[in-house]
């Protein structure tokens, strides 16, 4: 599952940039021009783009973990193949995005180390539990669906290598979404037990899907560097609304109920009621909905989510277990052996 960066940016620092170069750069970007790694760019642009690509790459390889845990339990030959291929795609996306970030000045190894030591972050949605096969279906449908909406807009960004990577990734994400949709439809047209499995998982994933796009917009959202320099082309709230407009009716059409849920510390639902605000607003043409639990969102972001420690521990385990292999064959390079 891909999850692009909603990286927190507080970069005001363009003061040191040459004003003439900055003006030319900003005009170029505003007119839809692309920025390539060797072009002049404000240092703040480079920093921000690096963080965005790195965060996105981290999200891909951490995102591989919850689904990866279900590969060996997938319930048919086809699902087993598809899930393995999907998780492999996420790793591939991570690989491509680390290349993008690397061109901006940070080595892959430094990025992997920063990830496992908690210096850098990954997408928050991977800190939620995935206790059943139903969760696998919902992740592929809802989270990949959210990622497609988000990344569809990121593909119109300004940094050439990132948007080209995004276009490639988006084609694969479209497959992931179809795979998710097919799994959800299969469960929802199956036995009562399967429908319950799907509903329970949906209850766990609806909120993280809404929160996927990041916190509510600030008043100056469009003036902030990420949007001014066209790294992001849509606001969090615009994307969230688009998601609800697309997925609320689709979920209900399958027979799923959209609930507002209370969860315990392990991320499991302890009580729920149908979303009282959910309706198509005739005036705006948008679906009204209850906001996700933002207190929980910020708690998870701060590292206190149901699975933060587990995900990071597994990632660290993998890094440490593989260290002798990298030492033996890479010798500072970043490619695996391909000849013999």
């Amino acid at each position: 599952m891909s999850a692009s960066a909603n990286v927190e940016v507080n970069i005001k620092d363009c003061a040191n940039a040459d004003p003439e170069k900055l003006a030319v750069f900003e005009q170029h970007v505003a007119e839809g021009g692309l920025v390539e790694p060797n072009d002049w760019m404000p240092e703040a642009y480079r920093t921000l783009m690096l963080r965005m690509a790195e965060h996105h790459a981290n999200s891909e390889i951490v995102g591989a973990l919850p689904e990866g845990e279900w590969i060996t339990r997938a319930p048919s030959l086809l699902r087993k193949l598809a899930l393995t291929a999907k998780v492999q795609d996420e790793v591939g996306h991570g690989q491509m995005l680390y290349e993008v970030a690397q061109d901006l000045g940070k080595t892959r190894n430094a990025m992997l180390r920063d990830l496992i030591t908690g210096v850098t972050k990954y997408h928050n949605c991977f800190n939620y539990p995935c206790p059943t096969w139903g969760d696998i279906c919902m992740i592929a449908w809802l989270i990949d669906g959210a990622a497609i909406l988000n990344q569809g807009t990121l593909a119109h960004g300004s940094f050439g290598p990132y948007i080209r990577t995004m276009r490639r990734i988006n084609m694969e994400e479209a497959f992931h979404f179809k795979h998710g949709e097919d799994m959800v439809l299969t469960l929802m047209s199956g036995t009562d037990k399967q429908k319950q499995l799907a509903q329970d998982a949906f209850d766990r994933w609806w909120d993280p899907s809404l929160a996927f796009f990041g916190p509510n917009d600030r008043p100056d959202e469009r003036e902030r560097p990420a949007m001014r320099w066209r790294m992001k082309t849509a606001t969090n709230n615009e994307l969230r609304q688009k998601f609800v407009n697309r997925f609320a009716p689709a979920a209900m059409a399958t027979g799923l109920v959209i609930n507002v849920c209370k969860k315990d510390a392990s991320g499991m639902v302890i009580s729920k009621e149908p979303d009282p605000l959910l309706k198509l607003n005739e005036e705006t043409g948008n679906w009204d909905f209850t906001q996700p639990d933002w207190d929980e969102f910020f708690r998870v972001i701060r590292g206190d989510g149901p699975c933060n420690k587990d995900r990071l521990a597994l990632r660290r385990f993998s890094y440490e277990q593989g260290e002798w292999v990298r030492r033996a064959i890479l010798d500072g390079a970043t490619t695996a052996p391909s000849d013999h």
Partner: protein, 256 residues
């Protein structure tokens, strides 16, 4: 499709199950590395190999279906432990140690290379053509794992000793790959498949050549005894089977 005489049905199904179950469980164990391998590029490659193996297993289950009429998912997911005919090396736990995964892959892939080569000459054409098709991909698997053996063998003193230890650990299990499936003599006598009496020697020569070049040694001797090919499995196979069947068995008749 070319008809196969009734007397060969059970023996050929045994042979096909040996191939399919080996590939299913080797793919199953290797797929667990997806997202966790030591290098991203290696992760992607190893995952592709696991997908190949699972897809190859599916193709063999489909061939079994032409004889027994059973659905491939039912064959793959719903048998009792003693009805699976894989050799236990395929499910021998690797403890997420890359050297173990490579040793297991190496012994199994080279074995599969020679097995498919023989099945490619089967007189039952559906089997021969499937084996030929899959053999082409098996060559790539062998190339890939050979590359790893050589790189780790020659990489550093540390990687050489880790690789050697893994080859030693898996060696006794490797010899059980050669346990004969029940009824295979009938297939030899009926000239359905060719006698593979010299397969261990060929396999051993191949393994020795690669390990020698890598500065490693594979100490594998032929053994006799009853094991996975006759449905007798150890605890690690049963653990893998439980994992494989975990979701499926909640409702074996449901579509997933």
């Amino acid at each position: 499709m070319q008809e196969l005489d009734q007397q060969f049905h059970n023996p050929i199904v045994n042979v096909l199950l040996c191939v399919a179950d080996d590939k299913l469980f080797l793919g199953h164990k290797n797929s667990d590395w997806t997202g966790l391998a030591p290098i991203l590029e290696a992760d992607i490659a190893f995952s592709s190999l696991s997908q190949d193996d699972i897809a190859h297993a599916s193709a063999f289950y489909e061939l079994i279906q032409t004889i027994t009429g059973q659905n491939p998912d039912q064959i793959a997911f719903s048998r009792n432990a003693n009805e699976y005919l894989c050799a236990d090396i395929v499910t021998k736990d690797d403890s997420f140690n890359w050297a173990n995964a490579i040793a297991r892959q190496f012994y199994c892939n080279v074995y599969e290379y020679y097995r498919l080569q023989r099945l490619s000459t089967a007189s039952w054409t559906p089997l021969a053509s499937l084996a030929k098709r899959i053999f082409a991909e098996q060559v790539i698997h062998v190339d890939h794992v050979t590359s790893w053996i050589k790189h780790l063998g020659k990489g550093s003193g540390d990687s050489n000793s880790r690789m050697q230890q893994a080859l030693d650990t898996y060696a006794p299990f490797a010899s059980m790959l050669f346990e004969a499936p029940e009824g295979i003599e009938t297939l030899f006598e009926g000239k359905i498949i060719s006698d593979d009496g010299c397969m261990f020697t060929e396999w051993k020569e191949h393994v020795d050549q690669v390990t020698n070049e890598a500065g490693l040694k594979a100490t594998v001797a032929p053994v006799s005894g009853v094991g996975g090919r006759r449905g007798s499995h150890g605890a690690e196979f049963k653990e893998s089977l439980c994992e494989l069947q975990e979701v499926f068995s909640t409702d074996p008749l449901a579509a997933w």
